[in-house]
Symmetry: C2
Subunit: 331 residues, 2 copies
């Protein structure tokens, strides 16, 4: 294993020191492993909290800032944060207008966020929850009952963050979150495994001439292993299941071509070109595009496609100013 770390045991703590040093607009609670905004939540603004295992950066800590999350809880690599972390974070960000918990659908995250929300409710904080489950690859999976939560989480945090920043109340913010989750679909492919620092070796073995279609962001198995193919064919194998799952015609869409961590940007643009050809041929209107590494799986080579069926309101919220390490415009 070759990694730029001090030790597998300290990788999360050490990285949080770096986050605090690089981003004066953020604060880090090193004990509870929470990244939050330096400026307290404005009175009356609904707060957004997410979190999950480390290893998917910039998700979630890289999306804390004006226009997106108010805080993110960081678990160990590929491990859910604890209910205590969620409670602490919820208390830190609540301004009295309530807190939306954004949870990717993995058993540990769902369970711990549920307990965190209960603990917060006992302190009198109103918590609402959205569980993201947009991965069309498999219905149940390692760590998951139901579909996994992947790329739509990125788009949801941006869009719902803007809704909260506008001053919409908790019910309205939650409704936007549910709309985004119901309207977004994703599918990914791995060309290589990732290596979890504490394991010290690749999570799975993938022969030199094969790829894993429908892979999860922790290296969970996908739909099938198939021979390596060209970008056009890979795009087809990712986009067709998404289009089969939801009708994306008749509305503007937001399309994300996401790198899983180990794939160069030039390849992501090659893939994006192929995805667009398929969408154009299918009569789907792409209103906004995002190409880059936004929800990753450590050093995994591969990518995922996310398509979100939007409307005027979602596009308006997408375009609103945002100031985070991972997504920034207008500020």
């Amino acid at each position: 294993m070759k990694k730029l770390i001090n030790s597998p045991e300290t990788v999360l703590a050490d990285s949080l020191v770096g986050v605090a040093a690089a981003h004066p607009e953020l604060r880090v609670d090193h004990v509870n492993r929470i990244i939050y905004r330096a400026a307290p939540t404005r009175a009356g603004k609904v707060a957004l909290l997410s979190g999950g295992g480390t290893g998917h950066e910039p998700l979630h800590g890289g999306f804390v800032g004006v226009g997106m999350l108010d805080a993110a809880c960081a678990g160990a690599v590929f491990t859910s944060p604890t209910p205590d972390q969620m409670l602490e974070a919820t208390k830190v960000v609540d301004s009295g207008a309530g807190v939306l918990h954004i949870v990717k659908n993995y058993t540990g995250d769902v369970m711990n966020f549920e307990m965190g929300a209960e603990l917060a409710a006992e302190t009198g904080i109103v918590v609402s929850v959205v569980v993201v489950n947009d991965d069309v690859a498999v219905e149940d999976s390692t760590f998951t009952a139901g579909r996994r939560g992947v790329g739509t989480t990125v788009l949801l945090e941006k869009i719902v963050g803007a809704a909260a920043e506008e001053g919409r109340d908790l019910a309205a913010v939650t409704a936007v979150a549910r709309q985004v989750n119901e309207s977004g679909r994703s599918m990914g492919v791995a060309l290589s495994s990732c290596t979890v620092p504490s394991a010290g070796k690749p999570t799975f073995e993938l022969p030199e001439n094969e790829m894993e279609i429908g892979v999860g962001i922790h290296g969970e198995p996908g739909r099938r292993r198939v021979p390596l193919a060209g970008a056009a064919e890979v795009a087809r194998q990712l986009v067709e299941p998404i289009l089969a799952d939801l009708d994306f015609t008749g509305a503007p869409t937001i399309v994300m071509l996401n790198g899983l961590g180990g794939t160069p940007l030039i390849e992501l643009y090659v893939m994006y070109a192929e995805v667009r050809k398929i969408l154009d041929a299918a009569g789907i209107t792409v209103a906004r595009s995002l190409v880059g590494n936004y929800i990753t799986a450590l050093d995994m080579a591969g990518c995922s496609v996310t398509i979100l069926k939007a409307d005027d309101d979602l596009l308006h919220l997408w375009d609103a100013p945002v100031n985070t390490a991972g997504l920034r415009w207008g500020i």
Copy 2:
């Protein structure tokens, strides 16, 4: 070789199709392989042109937009663009106020940009040139007479882009460019090789327990191969040669911790934490930070550190609005 491409021969052309599809604010000349702004250069504004071999994305095409470059010429992977491309790009972006060519110090780039500038001068366009040579690792190297141009190029394109946007004239813009180059220093480390698509195999072999200190962005040899070490020790081996080369005390600095393409963001933050500890101990003031993948070497695992000795004017230009695929704020 596992890559998300259609074929090694079409990777550049295919990626440019993706760039055009993803970025409506840009235009792509697919024949001459030039990425330029959709909006023509404002009359009186000095235009900024850069370019080089593909494989370092987001550099340079990802830095075309308001506040940075006006155009970028893309060569094949790790191969200089041709003088004809530079001539065409220079003609496209010139508004009459002249064009600054930003050239990384590699023999092919320097030679071809020189010829491109001569051809442009014959058409009556005033061209100025800055050659970036900030890599302290080695004096001469594969493809290079003198020091290689690396990370400072990113900071230079941002800062000088802002100077041009402000309406400074060609002499003033060129002076800022020279100041940035003279004030910036970089050094990198590789944990793995990269794989050029047309070669189909790693550029070099690096044993499982070794790293290459001072590596170039094409996999050129660095200063030495040493046993794999922890992040704190790697940071020391990168930062000490930089600090030995220039006195960074007594001025605000801009520090970039750059990923070479295959290293997860969490490791870059771990490295940034260690770099900051060294700079703090050395009494160096860090005014601005940038952590992420900005000048890459395809899928190489590793990182580089760039430190720029700034002043009030350079910080003011750094903070100015920018709207590119790779760097964006304030717009």
